[in-house]
Symmetry: C2
Subunit: 351 residues, 2 copies
């Protein structure tokens, strides 16, 4: 089975890392030498000539789910990937592939949602492409959204603020910018998107209480940049919080400790995850951000997040520590547990 | 059948126009008001804050075909869409969706081809996304490539040259820039890509002589900008030369006459098309450009194209005329024939 691509190869975890490093980086890296933030950073976006550039193809099934649809996901997902670089998203592209026979009214509903989401985020959809393939060649529809963004003075003032407290070489909010002492903040309750989708898809019935958190976070990021002191930012999508923290820890070369009691998870998600035997920390989110913040500014940044509609359940969940390796969690029952990078996403096709 | 999406809705012709105008423009247009070249131009790329931005999802079947594969197509296609705005392509993104069970060696061959093509075009692939879906949810693989580009002094000097001869308000090489008197140039023989693909797919056997023309045209565009006097540029992909000329004529509000004897088509493509009952003018190309050029500069631009490896069969094929409506062709046998915008592409999934 080693010569074929499996679901886990595309699931955002350990196996996917391997696929990316063995193929994409091997072949594409040398092309990107003069890029400000190259492919080899494997960050949320690349940066070239000051232009932040990101892409995401959305294959979610079913297309409509509690709290959103493939269209809202496609818009928010790419707005978020550009935003967490510390950039202002400027515009989106859309690439539709549609199965012949797809309902025009469902198509229009999806387009209307995208327009609404784009307006909410204040990021226009400026260019697009549409392909229709024969029945059976694709399940319903997939949407690629790519996005571009630019630097604003907000990012500069944020970095200036970081530099009041520690040395900082970052020009963008890269995964590799975390340093010992930085606090880790998560902007709200985790697990909602993945659990809502899984529950709805499999008919478990939790979706009456749990809805996807899908939302553009660019407004929230603006607020934290205004507060200042943010060193890194990432949206915990595929592979969830565990994957995101591991990525940051690995790329920054510093350990992370988080405190289970501080990690915001709704009781409904907790209950659903227990029943389904899945870990809420490994489930994708679509409207959340994980931040590294210099410790002196952590409370101020937390306050600024809590004032934003998307951030009222934000928490400081841990900190970067050089005396630990990888990502550890102090559990509520006591003791420490290693948070691994998931091998593959426990729930396929949630984004 | 009016409430479902059909193959023709995505084929780049008349029906697709309708779908786009009824949905995309209706919902997305108001988002793009302040964009330099907005979605409503339906040009090859949008331009926002001086950044040229384009996207294309490639669904070609089979993935490997005479002269290339889905990877070369994906790279060249987007490089070309950015280039024909008169911009310099800066970088590409890739969004893969792969069916579970896809061969890793085929995957690597495709990636290697993309790297090679990107190097040839000198446009790095800087960011990407990969999704793997379960068996049966997608036929093999599709690739989205989005691209960004920037203005260079070459475009400015080209426009300056245009303005020596006529009033010209264009800032980019838009489809709407053609004016009476401008000459129409095509950069080489048309029909190769579509015929090679169709023949190979259906086993007609012409592919021994006919190969896809897939190639990045950014180098060629640079040469014509250096010559100067180019008013519009477009790559004749889906719907072929007929569709491209109709788009330009419609958007520019001026008629076009072309001369059949001047349109470069290889004898092999002519023979294949006759046997298959398809019109070479309606077939997609992947390494060609259609240009509008002020008449005083047409010969000079033609010479500059002919010096480029991709342009040795270039021809001046016609001109813009206010005394005709739409696109007419003076045929070899005598008389004029209307070149219609194809209802849909005669050959699905060639790009």
């Amino acid at each position: 089975m080693n010569n074929i691509i499996t679901i886990a190869d595309g699931a955002g975890g350990e196996k996917m890392d391997h696929l990316i490093k063995k193929t994409f980086l091997k072949y594409f890296e040398k092309n990107g030498e003069k890029v400000d933030v190259p492919l080899s950073e494997l960050d949320d976006s690349a940066v070239i000539n000051g232009i932040v550039f990101s892409t995401d193809t959305h294959t979610v099934q079913p297309l409509f789910f509690p709290g959103g649809n493939i269209g809202s996901l496609a818009v928010a997902g790419t707005v978020n990937d550009v935003s967490v670089m510390g950039a202002k998203p400027l515009a989106l592209s859309t690439g539709f592939v549609i199965e012949e026979g797809f309902s025009k009214s469902d198509f229009e509903r999806i387009i209307a949602t995208m327009a609404e989401m784009a307006e909410k985020a204040d990021v226009p959809i400026v260019t697009g492409d549409t392909k229709v393939v024969e029945k059976g060649a694709l399940q319903e529809m997939i949407i690629n959204t790519s996005g571009i963004g630019v630097r604003t003075p907000l990012l500069d003032s944020n970095i200036e603020e970081v530099r009041r407290y520690r040395e900082y070489k970052g020009e963008w909010l890269l995964d590799s910018n975390l340093e010992e002492g930085d606090k880790i903040i998560v902007s709200g309750r985790i697990g909602d998107h993945g659990v809502a989708l899984l529950s709805f898809r499999e008919g478990y019935g939790f979706e009456s209480k749990i809805k996807s958190d899908v939302a553009p976070v660019n407004g929230l990021i603006e607020e934290v940049l205004k507060a200042g002191g943010v060193t890194t930012a990432k949206d915990p999508t595929r592979g969830g919080l565990s994957n995101t923290l591991n990525e940051i820890s690995e790329k920054s070369g510093v350990g992370i400790i988080v405190y289970e009691e501080k990690i915001p998870v709704s009781n409904d998600v907790k209950a659903a995850c227990e029943m389904l035997g899945i870990d809420p920390l490994e489930i994708g989110n679509e409207g959340k951000v994980v931040l590294g913040v210099v410790k002196e500014k952590a409370e101020e940044v937390l306050d600024s997040i809590k004032k934003h509609p998307l951030g009222k359940n934000a928490e400081i969940i841990g900190e970067a520590r050089s005396d630990v390796k990888g990502v550890l969690m102090e559990t509520i029952v006591g003791g420490r547990r290693v948070l691994h990078k998931p091998i593959g996403d426990p729930i396929p096709r949630i984004c």
